[in-house]
């Protein structure tokens, strides 16, 4: 896949802010555990389609904002999102980034690692979540990924075909 140019300057930031809003949108409590990891998905998307323009520093900082708003320990999501982008960038040359199933594979591996590291941090700081509900977000994220990936194309610069 060729590097895709964002439609306008700051398109990546705008999409990240949108994902951020999706992350803090109030939901019914029993649906909370099903909330897809919107920010991680957005980061994976940009890491796949536009590796030159994805910035580790930016996602790190957004992670810090998430930590402040979620009340989680400061640095947890920052570290997590940096890992998400780094892993995506490292895995990108090894797969066919256009292929649907290979994308799903990347999402699965990257999100799994991200959530596992989050779980370690939660465990070390002494409030690890109980039960399997912690992992349900992986399922919902994978279900949502194809649609979200398609939707994010509105931030891509369209090539003129004639």
């Amino acid at each position: 896949m060729d590097e895709i140019i964002p439609r306008f300057k700051g398109a990546i930031i705008v999409s990240l802010v949108l994902a951020f809003i999706l992350m803090i949108l109030p939901l019914r409590e029993d649906w909370l555990v099903w909330r897809p990891e919107w920010l991680a998905l957005t980061i994976i998307h940009w890491g796949l389609v536009s590796p030159q323009r994805s910035s580790l520093l930016l996602v790190w900082f957004i992670g810090l904002m998430v930590d402040a708003l979620y009340g989680s320990i400061l640095g947890q999501h920052a570290l997590g999102y940096a890992i998400v982008l780094y892993m995506t960038l490292r895995m990108r040359p090894r797969v066919i980034a256009d292929s649907f199933f290979q994308q799903i594979f990347i999402v699965f591996i990257v999100l799994g690692t991200y959530l596992l590291i989050n779980l370690w941090i939660l465990g070390v700081t002494g409030h690890s979540p109980k039960g399997w509900s912690y992992w349900w977000t992986v399922a919902s994220s994978i279900v949502v990924w194809p649609f979200y990936h398609y939707f994010l194309q509105i931030f891509h610069l369209k090539k003129k075909s004639f």
Binding site: I21, I24, L57, W60, L64, Y70, I73, L74, G75, A82
Partner: protein, 296 residues
């Protein structure tokens, strides 16, 4: 690679510092203020929906409500009158006994801006902050039940940690027998666990536990939870008692924050900010004046 390593190391450092309790509060507060407009914007549609729903409530029901509330106000006014004379008597008796004055309380109402988006912590953001003299450790009530306490404060918002958060505990007392216990949050919706209740103790489902007031944080005798199930595994030294919180955390949109006189004294010592106490004093002065006028 180098960039990633550096960022990961900084993040790791932050985690360790935050866990050890170093003061990262300024950073946290700054980030929260940066995100506050976004958080506010997210909440606007919900507020609009809420207010339009309220706007279209039928006239009939409103007038019925109004009549009912007017009657209620009459009842409360009478009760308040009685309370006032009792308070006066109490003051007089305390003066005779040389006892410390009873705790005076002042309230303010705050709206809940957003429920925690993090499924594993139970806290909410409210729309009042240190500009309104909110302070860390302040008690929040909802419908006369204890809701939680303020965890952190920014100038125009604050985070309230709910009773059901897994990191939260409150000392409670059985209103039927006087038995005391620790109500610890479970992280689940409206569910608390009562710890350290020995097997020989008398606890039944349906018992109401109220705050004991020990620890000086929560005011005494506010209802906290109703016992839901009592179980005992042979071999355990304590019973497993779960209880439903009386505040419904899924439905509350407003919380009541209270100041007690002893806290306001603390504020004054800390910030040399006399606003809170002045308010309390002026309120009380106004009241006494009104009553004096009424008596005349």
């Amino acid at each position: 690679m180098i960039k990633f390593t550096i960022l990961a190391l900084i993040a790791g450092g932050l985690i360790v510092m935050d866990y050890r309790g170093s003061s990262l509060l300024p950073i946290r507060t700054g980030l929260k203020m940066l995100a506050y407009p976004l958080q506010y914007a997210v909440d606007v549609p919900y507020k609009v929906a809420h207010s339009t729903k309220g706007f279209f409530t039928e006239h009939e029901r409103l007038s019925a409500d109004n009549r009912e509330l007017r009657a209620l106000v009459g009842v409360y006014a009478a009760r308040d009158q009685k309370y006032y004379s009792i308070a006066q008597e109490n003051l007089r008796l305390r003066k005779q006994l040389d006892a410390t004055p009873a705790v005076r309380e002042k309230f303010t109402l705050a709206e809940i801006l957003s429920v925690s988006s993090n499924p594993f912590s139970k806290d909410v953001v409210i729309n009042k902050g240190s500009n309104d003299d909110i302070f860390v450790g302040q008690v929040a009530l909802s419908d006369n039940n204890i809701y939680g306490q303020v965890k952190s404060v920014t100038p125009n918002s604050a985070v309230v940690i709910q009773l059901t958060d897994a990191k939260h505990a409150i000392h409670v007392r059985n209103s039927r027998t006087g038995l005391s216990a620790l109500a610890v949050g479970t992280g689940k919706i409206n569910l608390l666990e009562l710890k350290h209740i020995e097997t020989s103790m008398d606890v039944q489902t349906g018992d109401v536990f109220v705050s004991s007031g020990l620890g000086q944080l929560y005011p005494p005798d506010f209802p906290v939870a109703v016992v839901n199930s009592v179980a005992y595994n042979p071999g355990d030294s304590f019973m497993r008692v779960t209880a439903h919180s009386l505040a419904d955390f899924t439905k509350t949109r407003e919380v009541l924050l209270i100041w007690r006189a002893d806290y306001s004294m603390e504020i004054i010592h800390q910030n040399t900010n006399n606003k809170a106490k002045a308010n309390i004093d002026s309120n009380i002065a106004k009241r006494t004046n009104n009553k004096k006028k009424a008596k005349k």
